[in-house]
Every structure is written in C-alpha cells, then in structure tokens.
C-alpha cells in the first residue's frame, strides 16, 4: 500500500455502508404494513409462475452449459491474472517478456479455438461433438 | 578354445533350435514328428564330446583346477563370467549328461504336445545345472542357481500330473526362499571383502581369503546352508520334494532327483565347507544331526508310501541325509563318501524314476496296491527295476554301498551313536526297497494283466550303461574318488595361485 490511510478510509467506508444497509433492512421491517400470513391469501405463499400452479421442486437440473461457463470463467479469469502481472511492466521486461506473454496469449487462444470447435461455447440442443467426418453440419431435426 | 563356456551355452543353443523345430509350421516343413527330440539328442552328444575333450585335456591332474575361463560381465560391480572346473564339477557334469541322455532315450520321445518347448526347457535346465557346477563367480553362481528353476517350474507345471501346479509353485517358492537367503549371504561376504580389501569382487577365490569374525562367518555360512539345505533337501525344509517329484513328468523327476538335488550337495561342499571351514566345523554337529534325522525320517515315511514315485522321493530324502552327514563329518573320507553317494544316488534314483515313469505310462497309475506281478509281463523292465531298487538299498558291490559305507565309517570316527542311528536308516531302506520290489514286480496281480510292451533293446542299453557305472562305482570306487575330489579354493602352491589369479 502506498499509504495506509487509503486502507483505513476503505474500512470506514465499508463500515458506513454496512450501517446504511442495516438501517434500510431494519427500517423496512419496522415500517412495512403488517398482515397475518393467512390474510394474504394462498397466492402469496406460492412461488410466482405467471399464474400457473407450480409443480415439482424448484431446483431443476440445469443444462450443463452453465457449469461449463463457470469452469471457463474460472480458468480464463485466472489466466488473466498472469497477464495482469505482465501488464504493468511491459517495457521493463523487454522482448523476452513480450515473447513470453505472446506465447501465453497464443496458448490461451488455441484452447479457445478448440473449445469453439468442440461446441463448448454453443448454447442450445446441438451435438456437442462433431461427427468424425468432420463436416460439422448439424443434422436436421 | 576353452571348452567351459561351450559346455554351458551348447544346451541352450541346442534347446533353442529344438524349440524352433518344434513349432508346428516348422515341424510340418521338416516332416519329422520328433525333430525336437533328435536335435536334443544331437546336442547332448555334442556336449558329451566337448566334455570328453575337457576331461582328456588334463588327464594327469597336474593342477587341482583343470580349466579356467574368465570374461568381464559387469565390471563396475566386480562381476565377471568366471568358470572353473575341478574334479567334483567334472564328475557331476558327467552324471548330468548321462542321466540326461538316459532321459532322452527312455522318457521324452513320446512327448508330443509342444515337444519343442519341452526339449528346450529340459536342455535349459541342464544348462543351468552345468552352469551352477562350473561357476566360480558368486553372482554367476546365483544367476544359474535361479535360472535353472524357471524351466523346471514350467516343466512341472505344464507337463506334470494331476496336482502339478501346486507342486510346481511349492517347489519354486521353497527353492527361491532359500536362494534369497543365499543372496544375502553372498552379498554380505562380498561386502565384508570390500571392507577389508577395498575391492568389489564376486570372485570365489578372492572371497575365500576374506578375513571373517566367527559370528559373521557363521551367519554367512547359514545363509548358504539355507539355500543348499532346501535343495538337498534337509529335513525340515524338504516338504516340496515329495510333491514335486511325484507330480513332475518322468524326465523332470529324473532331472530333479538325479541332478538338481546334487546342486545342493555340490554347493555345500564348494561353499559351506570350503569357504567357511571353521564355521562349518562348528556347525557340523547340528548338520550331522539334521542328516541323521533326514535319513531316519525319509526312510520311515518311505516305508509307508503306496505311491511309487512318492516312495522313491522319500527314499531320496533319506539318501541325501547320508550326503549331508558325509559332508559335515569333517574328514576326507566322509567327503569322498558323500561324493560317491551323490553320484550313485543320482544314477540309481534317476534310473528308478525312469522305470517308475515307464510303469506309470503303461499302467496309468502309481499306486503300488494296483500294480503287481510285472515280472511276468515285462521281464526286462522288471529286472532293471529290481536292480536299481537293490542298488539304492545299498547292496554291497554297488555304488550306493560304497558311498554309504564310507560315510558311516567317517561318522563313526566322529560320533559312534550317530553312526549307529544312521545305519538304522540303512535297515529301513532295505525294508522299503524290498517292499517296492515285492509289491510291484513279484506279488501277484489282482486283476487281469493286459499284454504290455516291455523295454525295447535300445532303452535297455541305456539302462545297462547306468548299471555298469553303478557296478564299477561299487566295486572299484578309488579312481572315481581321486578323480572327483573337490579342489580347495586356497592355493596349495605358489604356482597354483598363478594359474588362477586373473
């Protein structure tokens, strides 16, 4: 840290925000109208589904695509961390560092191309892997 | 040209050729159904010739060590291919060759299933045994010691009888266990030598001069003893033997009883007694005790067997007890007796197994209670059987008697009670041998006896040779005794030292 006062300001700031948020939550609890649960009618205690009565658990099995995105995020974001370390010292580390960074970016780009072709970046019901003949055409539904 | 490496390599090479000849495609091309057998036979004949040359080159026993061969192998660890031959090894190699030839004549020609592999394994075992008899580099000795187990294991496990695989496994595990202890002893000896001299070597002659404290030498000696005791076999570790002998195919039984057991005796003489004379002397009472125990125990169990092969196997244990007794009787006479006993036992028991194998092949049983009266049906076979049975009970005039008598005599000088007990074993051996003769050959057969082929003349000739050797060994053992005397690793003269220092 350049100066410790920055840190302390941030702490004070965070404390202030904390107090503020606590106030907001507390205030709404105090000022809100009170009503017995039963008085709200049955629709108040069912999840909203555009007027349809919900069936089954709300915890659906989500498409694996979401998990894939999470993994890509984790991986690519962490890789960015490596680039950030280079970012502040681009000219200091010279051409060797530049070469290393470019190689690193290439090593990021090639897997990206691979993921793209493997279909990992596509959403929706498509075959995830291309057929061996490699034409990549999606069979007609 | 030095004959020693040829002695070891020839069987392996011949076996390889036999294997190739046995391949189905190759056999079809050769149009000879027993090509492997013929090749094996030729190999053995060649081997005999080489051995003959080796024997005749040094007729006068000018030096105790008759031939020497040395070639570096793993120089960084002081390991070399060192082969030396003295009278003892020469005699035992002769024994091996004779038995092997007899085997080929009597037992293996009929092996049709994978005959090539069978002969290869047979010859490989032989090579291992010969290597063991010749090696004077301790690593090389151990190498051959282990090497001969593998083909024997396969022989038993594939071509053996009903319970073959368990027997093969037992055989291998026991021998290997002893072998590992020996390995540790070898290494210990080498390390002691390294510490004393700063030279890393596995040379037998160099190691013999290692100064050792009594405890250490006792420990090392015991390691060697463990391996050889398993092979010999000495009583508590004999359990593999009856099974292995019984389950093995005839040829393997012959090799096992006739030759492999002798490596144990050879090792005891060459290593236990020669390398650690003091420790061996201190250990002698116990070893002799074990020997007597073996004699009595083997003979006693042998008396109560109904299985022919098992009976002979237990008989072997009893006979090898005499060898142990002789080796540790600390007298030249006992040693000579042990050697003669080894030779004679190899011949007689090997031949007995051949006969038993032939009987089994014809009768399809080994149960003595179901065999009988063969004398009438197969006189030639029966006469041979009776001869060898009598030989093994120690009939005077035959080799076994000479050996056992010498051993007993030497033992008497050391300890009369032991000698008395050992001679009780002789009585027992007469019982079981005569029981064998009686029930198989003489007693009337219960059921009807189908006419069966007797031994043809050629096979009788082979057996006849063995008989002749036994008779000569029994009547005039002196040349054999001088001929086969083991040589000491310690140089008796300065000249001797020059001869081997290399």
């Amino acid at each position: 840290m350049e100066n410790a006062s920055d840190i302390w300001s941030v702490f004070i700031y965070a404390a202030a925000i904390g107090v503020l948020l606590a106030c907001m939550l507390g205030l709404s609890a105090l000022t809100g109208t009170r009503r017995r649960e039963s008085a709200g009618g049955p629709s108040l205690s069912t999840p909203f589904e555009s007027g349809i009565i919900p069936t089954g658990s709300a915890y659906l099995r989500l498409p694996a695509q979401y998990y894939l995105v999470a993994m890509f995020f984790v991986i690519f974001d962490v890789e960015t961390a490596f680039l950030f370390t280079w970012g502040t010292v681009v000219t200091e580390v010279g051409w060797i560092g530049y070469g290393a960074a470019m190689a690193f970016i290439a090593f990021l780009a090639i897997p990206l191309a691979y993921l793209w072709r493997a279909g990992a970046l596509d959403w929706g019901p498509r075959p995830r892997f291309r057929t061996p003949d490699g034409d990549g055409k999606v069979p007609a539904p | 040209m030095n004959p020693l490496p040829a002695l070891v390599l020839l069987p392996i090479a011949g076996g390889g050729v036999a294997w190739l000849a046995g391949r189905s495609r190759m056999a079809a091309a050769l149009r000879v159904h027993d090509a492997p057998w013929r090749i094996a036979l030729m190999t053995l004949v060649l081997e005999t010739l080489v051995l003959l040359v080796a024997t005749l080159r040094h007729p006068a026993h000018a030096e105790p060590w008759m031939a020497h061969f040395s070639m570096p192998w793993v120089p960084t660890m002081g390991i070399a291919v060192r082969l030396d031959m003295d009278g003892l090894s020469l005699a035992l190699i002769w024994l091996s060759l004779i038995l092997c030839l007899a085997c080929l004549f009597l037992a293996t020609r009929q092996v049709m299933a994978n005959g090539g592999v069978f002969h290869f394994l047979l010859l490989a075992t032989l090579a291992g045994v010969i290597g063991t008899f010749l090696a004077t580099d301790l690593f090389l000795f151990f190498f051959f010691w282990e090497l001969m187990l593998v083909p024997m294991f396969v022989l038993i496990a594939v071509w053996g009888h009903e319970d073959r695989q368990r027997a093969a496994l037992k055989f291998f595990l026991f021998t290997q266990g002893g072998g590992l202890l020996m390995l540790l002893s070898i290494l210990g000896l080498v390390m002691m030598h390294y510490r004393a001299d700063g030279v890393l070597t596995f040379d037998y002659f160099a190691l013999a001069a290692t100064p050792l404290s009594p405890t250490v030498s006792m420990l090392l000696m015991l390691g060697f003893f463990a391996a050889f005791a398993v092979k010999l076999p000495v009583v508590p570790v004999h359990v593999w033997l009856p099974d292995a002998h019984t389950q093995a195919p005839t040829a393997a039984s012959v090799l096992l009883a006739g030759i492999l057991l002798k490596t144990g005796g050879y090792g005891m003489i060459r290593f236990n007694v020669m390398l650690f004379p003091d420790a061996a002397a201190r250990f002698a009472p116990l070893a002799m005790g074990l020997g007597v125990a073996g004699i009595l125990y083997g003979a006693w169990l042998s008396c109560s067997q109904d299985d022919v092969k098992r009976l002979i196997a237990y008989g072997s244990i009893s006979h090898m007890g005499f060898v142990l007794l002789g080796i540790f009787s600390s007298s030249p006479m006992g040693m000579e007796g042990a050697i003669v006993q080894m030779l004679a036992h190899g011949l007689s028991t090997g031949a007995l197994f051949l006969v038993a194998g032939s009987i089994e092949e014809r009768m399809h049983t080994r149960d003595m209670r179901r065999i009988g009266g063969l004398w009438a049906a197969m006189p030639r076979l029966s006469s041979a059987g009776v001869f060898f049975a009598v030989a093994s009970l120690g009939m005077p005039g035959l080799g076994n008697f000479a050996g056992e008598f010498l051993v007993l005599l030497a033992t008497w000088h050391v300890s009369p009670p032991v000698a008395v007990l050992a001679s009780v074993g002789l009585v027992l051996s007469a019982i079981y041998a005569l029981r064998l003769v009686n029930s198989i050959f003489l007693a009337p057969q219960g059921g009807s006896l189908q006419p069966m082929a007797d031994f043809p003349a050629r096979q009788m000739m082979a057996l006849g040779c063995i008989m002749a050797f036994l008779v000569v060994l029994g009547l005039y053992p002196q040349p054999f005794m001088t001929f086969s005397a083991p040589s000491s690793p310690f140089p008796t003269t300065a000249a001797g030292r020059e001869g081997h220092a290399s």
């Binding site: 939550l25 915890y59 659906l60 000219t91 | -």
Partner: protein
C-alpha cells in the same frame, strides 16, 4: 475531517443519485419515445422517485414461506454492498476519492464485481422458485463470462498506464484520452459493462417475457428496492469507470476536476439510457456467443496490439 466525511457521505450520495436516476431515465425514455414521463409529483415530476421510495418503504416486508430466509434477506444487501464498495477507489475528486490512490484499485473493482455475482445467484437460489433460479443462473453465467472480457479489455489500459491505480491511470491520460488508443478495449469494456449490470439490451436474466422478473421475482418491498437501486448505482459505477479509464477522469480545462468528472459521467449515464431506448434485446445464446466468440478474441487482440506497439515505441529511439 475530509477522511471521515467523504466515506460517510459517498454512499448516501450514490444512493440519492441512483434514486434520482430512476426518474431521469423515465423522463429521458419519455422524451426519446415521444411521450411524457412521470411529471406530476413536484416540478417536472422530480419527486416521483422519492414517492416511489416511500411507497416501497411502507410495503409489507414479506419473506415467502418457501424461501431460505437468511440468504433471501442477505442477497440484496450483498448486491448493494459490492456496488457501493466499488466507489471507494473511483477518483471522483481532485484528491482521488476515498482511496483512489490504492495501487490495486482496478483489481479491487474487478473483485467487487465478481462478488456481485453472489447477490444474484443467492437471490435466485434462496427464492426457491423456477423463474428466480433460472434468472439467477442466467445472470451468473452472463456476469462471470463478461467479467473475463472486462478484465482482459482493461489490461490494455493497465499496460498503457503501467499501473492499477485509478489515479495513476487518470494521470497517464494527460496527453490523450485512452479512448483513442484503446478504442477496441473501450468497445469491449462498454459492452461488458452493460452485461455486468444486466441492463437493457443485455437484461436477459430479468427478461420479463420469459422469466417474470428473473432472480428478484419473489422480492418485494424495500428488498426489491435494494436490487433496483443497486442496478442504477451499477450504471453510475460503470459510467464513472468508463470516465476514469477512457475519458480522462477529472481532466479538463478551466473547471475543477470534480465537475469535469461529473459531467462526463452524466454523459455516459445518458448514453446507457439511450441504449435502452434504442436497442432490442438479443437471444441468450447470442449474448453468450457474442462474449466468448467475439469479445474475448477481440480483447486478446487488443492486448497483443497494445503490447506490440508499446514495445516498438520503447525500442525505437
């Protein structure tokens, strides 16, 4: 005094501005769509936002019985918290704001934005409702995806300025604003910023024609208000960031830095609202494809180009 008052006043100011922004947006939308916005409460309807706030305050503080109570209450607070905390490092005064000199300022903002995902996911999960869960997941996937591109696009600025401190970055724009040399990064950052705040046209997590109201479907009262305000505070934050990183922050002739900063930020906010008025909403898969297949390569390209130019300039005397 400054050190104490600024931290206390800033959140209040941001909250107030965000509240007012709801009115501004509605008025501007009315203007561009050729209709009136709210114009009854106060002069020009300026108190509409206050009235809305008061209404929300007096609504029932309802936690649905099927929801996970603690998380349900905590989620909007987290959302507010992360947005407000990010303001700590924005140098909106000549002094550099609360902690504008913090040497990892940019990383701090990225971290806070990353934490912002928790608010959405937890809200969606705690609501125990299908719309909410789907909306939460969508929002999370969108936000974390675009955070990657945001980070990479920022890298160009960091390289050019040689520092993560926002104050240094502003100082480095003395000669030329980064919007010129970093135009590629600027575009990517703008798009990522919209997606991060899930504003229209990238408001798919709350797209009312498929998901009700997305992750805050089950929220009402002031807790809904907190999400609502947090979104507008997010707009201000992104605008302020764009100003700082690409538009020279408080740099400008004659007027004091704070004024320049405010002016530029306001311009960006208007631009955000204009986008809402002008653009249709894409499909979700188009949104993700845009990010991973176009923005990521573009931002990597930007990094490479920036590096190459910097190296060439450094080595040629």
């Amino acid at each position: 005094m400054m050190r104490l008052s600024l931290p206390v006043l800033t959140p209040l100011a941001v909250l107030g501005l965000a509240t007012m922004l709801t009115w501004v947006e509605r008025r501007l939308l009315g203007l561009w769509q050729d209709r009136y916005g709210p114009n009854r409460v106060g002069p020009g309807g300026v108190f509409q936002a206050v009235a809305d706030g008061v209404k929300l305050l007096f609504k029932q503080d309802w936690v649905p019985p099927f929801a996970d109570r603690g998380v349900f209450v905590l989620a909007p607070a987290i959302g507010m918290m992360t947005v407000l905390l990010s303001f700590a490092v924005i140098p909106f005064t000549a002094m550099g704001g609360i902690a504008g000199g913090m040497n990892v300022g940019l990383l701090f903002i990225l971290a806070m934005m990353g934490l912002g995902v928790y608010a959405v996911v937890l809200a969606g999960w705690a609501s125990n409702s299908k719309y909410a869960l789907l909306g939460g997941m969508r929002a999370a996937a969108q936000m974390i995806s675009y955070e990657v591109f945001m980070g990479v696009s920022l890298l160009g600025v960091v390289m050019a300025a040689g520092s993560f401190s926002l104050r240094d970055i502003v100082a480095a724009q003395g000669r030329v604003w980064f919007v010129i040399p970093q135009c590629l990064g600027f575009c990517v950052f703008m798009l990522a910023g919209i997606a991060e705040t899930h504003r229209l046209p990238f408001d798919l997590p709350e797209g009312e024609n498929e998901l009700g109201a997305g992750f805050h479907t089950e929220y009402s009262g002031l807790k809904f208000g907190m999400f609502f305000i947090a979104e507008y505070a997010g707009i201000i934050l992104v605008s302020a960031l764009v100003t700082t990183l690409y538009l020279g922050g408080g740099l400008g002739p004659v007027l004091p830095a704070a004024v320049w900063f405010t002016l530029k930020t306001c311009g960006m906010v208007m631009f955000f609202i204009l986008l809402r008025a002008a653009l249709p909403r894409p499909r979700y898969d188009q949104l993700m494809a845009l990010g991973w297949k176009i923005l990521l390569p573009l931002s990597l390209l930007n990094v490479m180009a920036t590096g190459t130019i910097m190296m060439l300039r450094a080595t040629t005397p």
